[in-house]
């Protein structure tokens, strides 16, 4: 086999990229990647903030955190973007970063983005183990469930799906389908979790200074004048998805997520449910915020050099010297 040792956990992140916590969650996921605790398998954008600029933003953040020549699509998938209706305009947060020409990018036009349901599936195919973070409408995750062989694939490889509630209404039929049919354990990261753990805004000016220009900083500062402490919905979901067992959060007894017709989610405990809800333990708050800031502001990993092991010297007879050509 080509791969030796355990592959990092792959992360499929489905986001609307319309809030600071989504931007910071992306940074946190690259922080986890730098520590080789997980790697981003794919990012899929749909929902209120899913513009072309948002896709460019996710792409340039990826390029920012993985410097060097662009890896081909056999290793890296470009972000998925929903194109099933008029695209929303780029938010000020997104524009602030993508307007900076200093950041390298691979996406220039819509056709440079990836097909959403395919990129969700392929993000799992690329990894032997994966987790999913669903913060966007479940439209494309539900679609992906209907693709050939995907339920078995998810059952085998997806360790958990974390459904993040940020207060934005869900696609009700799609999330109901996902909740009913998703073959792996589901965690629910309620809005209360993100609200209880605001990201310390002071960190933005303090912890990211290792880069003279940083797309995450550009975006956060453009969202509104700071410093401010944004709720951490997607960050909490991401941290739980990758490290559910490190004591950051407590887990509820089993229950289920109910979906109102207007797309609002709520967790209802019940013995027959298969969902567990995240509970914030106040004693762990500092630990979580420390993890947030350290991971989100982490420097990219230094690319591993492929160095051939020293070759054992072998005494080989020199080839006979060719006779000089006569003039």
């Amino acid at each position: 086999m080509q791969f030796e040792g355990k592959q990092p956990l792959g992360v499929v992140y489905m986001t609307s990229m319309d809030r600071p916590d989504a931007v910071l969650a992306l940074a946190l996921l690259y922080g986890l990647q730098a520590k080789r605790e997980s790697r981003i398998g794919s990012v899929c954008l749909n929902g209120p903030g899913a513009s072309l600029g948002a896709a460019i933003f996710c792409d340039l953040v990826q390029r920012f955190y993985t410097p060097g020549p662009m890896r081909n699509a056999n290793q890296t998938l470009l972000p998925g973007l929903a194109l099933d209706g008029p695209l929303p305009p780029d938010s000020a947060m997104i524009t602030a970063a993508v307007s900076q020409t200093a950041y390298a990018r691979s996406i220039k036009r819509l056709s440079d983005t990836s097909l959403p349901e395919a990129v969700i599936r392929n993000g799992v195919i690329f990894n032997s183990e994966a987790v999913m973070i669903l913060s966007a409408p479940a439209t494309y995750l539900a679609k992906s469930l209907d693709l050939q062989g995907v339920r078995e694939l998810y059952k085998d490889r997806v360790k958990r799906l974390v459904v993040v509630d940020s207060g934005t209404p869900q696609d009700a039929p799609a999330i109901r389908k996902v909740l009913a049919e998703f073959p792996s354990p589901i965690f629910f990261c309620g809005k209360d979790v993100g609200d209880a753990l605001p990201y310390p805004g002071s960190s933005i000016d303090k912890d990211f200074t290792w880069a003279p220009q940083h797309p995450i900083v550009d975006a956060i500062k453009a969202y509104k004048p700071g410093p401010y402490d944004p709720p951490s919905y997607d960050m909490a979901g991401s941290l739980c998805a990758v490290h559910p067992d490190q004591g950051f959060f407590q887990l509820s007894e089993p229950g289920s997520i109910t979906v109102a017709d207007n797309g609002r989610l709520s967790f209802v405990p019940g013995p027959t449910g298969k969902v567990r809800s995240l509970i914030v333990d106040p004693t762990q708050k500092d630990k979580i915020l420390k993890a947030y800031t350290e991971l989100a502001s982490a420097k990219p990993a230094v690319p591993q050099q492929r160095v051939r092991p020293p070759q054992k010297a072998v005494d080989t007879p020199k080839p006979p010297t060719a006779p000089a050509k006569p003039d």
Binding site: N74, L77, A118, V119, L147, Q148, G149
Partner: protein, 450 residues
């Protein structure tokens, strides 16, 4: 008006010992005074041309989406028929990628491309893949024709052994897979292909067959009686069409005979079946002429043609290239090598353009064969140097009958759009509606403007 003319069956066959020649569409096959429509609707054909080792994409992709203008240099031979084809960009054959199994891109590329399925790594007999796109289409229309499908190859075939990092040669040498474990080997011998099309299940006695070949007699002699009988019932126009058609069959047969006479092996490194024309362009033309004859006579509606097996090392001395194709594609940025890859790509496209032109010139009622067809030209690799399986080079030629396709455009899809979405759309057009075709995520949108 009084309808007097008796309708000739579309299935009429000229029979003789060891011969069964289907007919092209004749006016007599339509009800009188309705010559512009075919009985039962005009048949739609589908064909897949596979080119190995990827393409020099620098000179393939048109710059902009929309109507095709001046084509990039590799596609330039298609300029005269640009209004009859679509260039489709950004399609992916995901299962060709290394994913978690590592090397073996050539071993997987063709198989993953045609099936959209994961290729089970084995060099043994325990092959496991999936049903190929052409066979999905054939499942809808194969029972309507003499041959359910026609598999053609322009290189020798191998069905076993380890061809690439533990992948069986069967994966790299077969386009068509009837089941997940049963490939349909392509025919690379022109004589065998000719006789598959024009022969019968009732075999000519071997001695008589050998005598006919030795005498270089024509298969048309075998059906002379039937031909005369039919001619007496045809009008002037149909008699002319029949004569033209039988002449074209005879010309193909003579090409086969010449190949058998002249098929000397000029490159000892290249295995060739007996009777293969020594020049690659002649070989390509001969085999595609037989494909056209098969379509023209509605002997089959589904065909595959493998220009080379995946990983082909064929040299092209006809255009001054003595290096093998595959080694050249691993150019590591060497422009001399890359330019040779371009030249090979252009040669293939030149021959493909000739094929399309012939299809277009073949009338069928008030239409022509190209308009009644969907012809895919593509590869399971784009950049052969680094083995990328996305942004695949893909052409879809023809209108698929009844203007199902609006050609003359460049369409750029989102990245990661499975190439199987195209194949699923084609299969649907052929009459089968697969819920999934391999890793398809749906149908390919935008093929038609209406």
């Amino acid at each position: 008006m009084i309808v007097t003319r008796k309708k000739l069956s579309r299935r009429t066959i000229l029979r003789g010992l060891g011969a069964a020649i289907s007919l092209p569409f004749l006016d007599a096959m339509t009800p009188a005074f309705a010559a512009s429509t075919l009985p039962g609707g005009k048949p739609v054909r589908a064909a897949w041309f596979y080119v190995p080792n990827g393409i020099d994409m620098r000179h393939w992709t048109p710059g902009d989406e929309g109507p095709l203008g001046t084509l990039p240099s590799i596609l330039a031979p298609l300029q005269p028929v640009k209004d009859d084809l679509l260039v489709l960009s950004n399609l992916t054959a995901n299962w060709g990628r290394p994913l978690l199994v590592g090397a073996g891109d050539h071993g997987r590329a063709l198989a993953a491309y045609m099936t959209g399925m994961q290729v089970y790594r084995t060099a043994g007999a325990d092959l496991r893949l999936g049903v190929s796109a052409d066979q999905v289409a054939a499942s809808a229309v194969g029972h309507l024709t003499k041959l359910p499908s026609l598999e053609i190859g322009l290189e020798e075939t191998r069905q076993g052994g380890n061809c690439d990092n533990g992948y069986s040669c069967a994966y790299a040498y077969n386009m068509a897979w009837r089941t997940e474990s049963q490939p349909l080997p392509p025919i690379s011998d022109p004589r065998q292909l000719f006789e598959r099309l024009f022969g019968t299940d009732v075999a000519e006695p071997p001695a008589a067959h050998a005598r006919r070949l030795a005498m270089r007699a024509s298969i048309l002699d075998q059906v002379g009686g039937d031909t005369k009988k039919l001619e007496s019932n045809l009008g002037v126009s149909d008699r002319r069409k029949l004569d033209e058609y039988l002449t074209s069959v005879r010309e193909i047969e003579q090409q086969v005979q010449r190949s058998e006479q002249d098929g000397v092996i000029i490159d000892p490194a290249m295995e060739k079946p007996y009777g293969v024309p020594p020049e690659f362009p002649d070989y390509f033309r001969l085999m595609t002429d037989i494909m056209i004859a098969a379509f023209k006579t509605d002997s089959t509606r589904v065909a595959t043609l493998m220009i080379g097996r995946e990983g082909s090392t064929r040299a092209y001395p006809e255009i001054g290239i003595s290096d093998g194709h595959h080694p050249l594609t691993h150019h590591m940025g060497n422009m001399t090598m890359l330019d040779k890859v371009s030249q090979i790509n252009s040669l293939h496209l030149k021959l493909f353009a000739e094929f399309l032109t012939k299809l277009k010139a073949t009338k069928e009622g008030d239409s022509n064969l190209l308009d009644q067809s969907m012809i895919v030209y593509g590869s399971g690799l784009s950049d052969g140097n680094v083995h990328t399986h996305d942004q695949l080079p893909t052409i879809l030629a023809g209108r698929g009958g009844n203007n199902f396709i609006s050609p003359g455009r460049h369409i750029i899809y989102q990245r990661e759009t499975p190439v199987c979405n195209l194949f699923a759309t084609m299969s649907e057009r052929m009459g089968v509606t697969p819920e999934h075709l391999g890793d398809s995520t749906g149908r390919l949108q935008g093929l038609s403007l209406s």
